[in-house]
Amino acid sequence: MKNLFFGQKVKIVDKEKTILYIYEHPLFVRLTHWLNALSLAILIMSGLEIFSAFPSFAEKIPQVDLINIPSVLRLGGWLGGAIQWHFTFMWVFIITGIFYLFLCFFTGYWKTIFFLPKDIKGLLPMIKHYFFFKPKPPQIETYNALQKFAYTIVIILGVFSVITGILLYKPIQFSFIVYLLGGFKLVRLWHFLTMCGFLFFITGHIIMVILHGWGNFLSIIIGWKKNIDNTNISKNS
């Protein structure tokens, strides 16, 4: 069990067939991934219920509603219930995030997942591959530049959603920061837009997971990914 860490590859000859197991996701990543999936789903749905109490970013009088959120997407039943959900799972989300970031830096995992200046040059070829069906650039690291970019952006979004959330929760206590971000109404809009960013990421993320199949999905649960053909050790999603 020692030295067992992400990126480790193990070759196993099983019934005359070579199987390559890759330890893709360390336990803390799997744990925080699913805690995040749960709390983010609850936060988004209860957030939509809270937003429905005043679905506008402008004046109260005259009130111009922007959108009518279908009740199936909302959680909490009414404003008070939704706030209870939101203010419970915000703690799960925040503590999960702190735990994740701490372990990212403590274990060196950040080198695998964070988009760094050296990744910029790899971004465009990957975009061309994903969106314009151009040939796939060779896979050198665990995650390609576009994946790193998406994962890094979504971590920043997470931090921003917590900051704007705290500002909405305590706009008087943090009135100067609210002022810097354009006032209470705009902070509400920023908080809403981070949610839109999450929805965009989640949609793309789920599409990629479906495209890469069951074995890839399983690795975020058990940690290991099975590669039968070891001539092409590419890992995705």
Partner: protein, 247 residues
């Protein structure tokens, strides 16, 4: 490609990678799975605890010296765009002539107070933001006596923990003492330079820019200082809103 592990290590891993260990690995995620499945079963108490915990953190970290932002007269929302926001009706038909504020509890001078007695206290005017739990906000012009001055006048025990109020429309709420002593917490009898109109809580309301709007009770008729919170904490609070509601 990376070097593969030595043979002995591989054997160790081989066992691990096989189905048994997969099951064990799956078990590690079981608590989360179980939690998400059972959430609907105990969500009521769980999420109420979560809100209470958030309230506790809010009250612990509350800075009594943090002032709400004040605005210039030109930034104030027009009077006609300041909503009449009531839970029942805009006018509970308070008899303004014979109105008294009944004061009881941990005070030296319990009794009924006339509006003139409150107006005799130093008057403060402030343009502050009024934020509703629904998400809208307006900047209003409020004037009145500091609640802290009134509590001093009635000889309230400033070490008491709570202030509870009852309103003519049967609305009710309660506050932590620290928020009542905040310099911007007003016993408000004027808005926009005119005596409170009936929709805004004539003749006397509380205005607390440091709390959400539902804590700024209108049509006050009774105020009580106490150390024990009544089981009726507030009209909305009893239905599930935050009790502290500090912003």
């Amino acid at each position: 490609m990376e070097k593969l592990q030595p043979q002995e290590h591989v054997k160790e891993i081989q066992k691990l990678a096989m189905s048994k260990i997969k099951r064990r690995e799956l078990l590690k995620l079981l608590p989360i799975g179980a939690a998400s499945i059972s959430l609907p079963l105990f969500n009521e108490s769980l999420i109420k605890q979560g809100l209470s915990f958030s309230d506790w953190v809010s009250e612990t970290l509350y800075n009594p010296n943090q002032l709400a932002e004040v605005f210039t007269d030109s930034q104030v929302t027009e009077f006609k765009k300041f909503p009449y926001n009531t839970y029942d009706k805009d006018d509970p038909e308070v008899d303004l002539e014979n109105w008294r504020l009944s004061v009881e509890g941990l005070v030296e001078k319990a009794g009924d107070y006339k509006l003139e007695q409150i107006q005799a206290l130093p008057k403060y005017t402030q343009n502050v933001r009024h934020i509703c739990i629904e998400g809208w906000d307006v900047i209003g012009n409020f004037a009145g006596a500091k609640l802290a001055d009134f509590l001093k006048m009635i000889g309230a025990d400033s070490k008491a923990r709570f202030v509870e109020v009852i309103c003519a429309d049967y609305y009710y709420s309660s506050y932590d003492m620290a928020s009542c002593l905040h310099p911007q917490t007003l016993l408000c009898y004027e808005m926009y330079g005119k005596p409170l109109d009936r929709g805004h809580g004539a003749p006397l309301r509380i205005h607390m820019p440091t709390k959400l709007g539902y804590k700024s009770c209108k049509y006050l008729i009774s105020l009580r200082v106490s150390n024990i919170l009544s089981k009726d904490k507030g009209f909305w609070e009893d239905q599930g809103y935050s009790w502290f509601a500090g912003i």
